[in-house]
Subunit: 147 residues, 2 copies
DNA sequence: TATTTTTGCATCGTGAACGATATAAATCTG
DNA sequence: CAGATTTATATCGTTCACGATGCAAAAATA
């Protein structure tokens, strides 16, 4: 009984880890045809909301560091989704802007969120339960991200 | 307004993705001194609960595929935490068993779960909210994993 | 203004995830 | 029992996530 807390079943983190993996996996059928990955989709969401942002702003938004985001953006530049130009006011910055290809992808990606929600709901009934998840996750994220 | 659903803020998945990353990160202060990673810790939890399991059982337990688990186990074997021996009844199987080092690590890892929960609670108050998370995540996981 | 500190970005190395593919052993089926 | 199928594991390639480190530009401070 001493080791009870060690039991895998009791772990909240394992469920988060697994749920996150599976959720990202659920995007695959929708993202594969567009030729992008889930993290790349997140970058596009940020840029669709506001084009031309420095790397650091994108990183902040995604709560990632530049050592993750930079290579991600480099791959996306390579596949023609965006451009990275030198900043003018602050020359340290790299301003990321969508290409034609990156911009038009928005139309094709338009229905992904509803498809995904529908997909998940079909398999687990209640909408309420999912929506209650969000504020709790927000608190958790806020707690864990402050340092 | 047409693109409203695309907005990052509305995305449940992004929160899961972020919460999972940050939660794994919260294990670092406890796992680094033991020289193991979070996925390796998960493998150890499984083996501490029951030693000597074939690769596929461990994979099933963690809801991962062998192409993820095999290299993970190889690294753990390399660092002396476990052994992988040929199965006797089924020669295709590789039976994974803990070494002395892997076994004794259990003592040192004993307090990790309580430390982590305490750590999280300190930063976000209510226990109830966290505990309500678990069954919902379970449903989500179950829904997404069935195919 | 000179020096220090901070900031923005990049590179490198390691460990995961995971799709695709391969191989041998076990199992099923005709 | 022979051939087909499934199962258990492994390998390879790509993309991430992230700690450590480096560097130049900007900002702060002396």
């Amino acid at each position: 009984m001493e080791y009870k807390q060690l039991k895998l079943n009791n772990q909240l983190c394992f469920r988060l880890y697994t749920a996150a993996r599976l959720t990202v996996g659920a995007y695959h059928p929708y993202l594969d045809p567009l030729g992008i990955t889930y993290p790349q989709y997140l970058v596009l969401l940020v840029l669709w909301e506001q084009n031309k942002q420095p790397v650091c702003d994108i990183a902040k938004r995604l709560m990632l560091d530049t050592n993750t985001v930079t290579p991600l953006l480099q791959r996306m530049e390579k596949s023609g989704l965006l451009r990275r130009t030198k900043g003018k006011t602050d020359t340290r910055q790299r301003i990321v802007s969508l290409t034609e290809k990156g911009t038009t992808l928005r139309e094709q990606a338009k229905h992904i969120p509803e498809c995904l929600i529908a997909n998940i709901l079909e398999k687990m009934g209640s909408v309420e339960e999912l929506t209650t998840l969000v504020p709790t996750l927000d608190k958790l994220i806020e707690g864990l991200s402050e340092r």
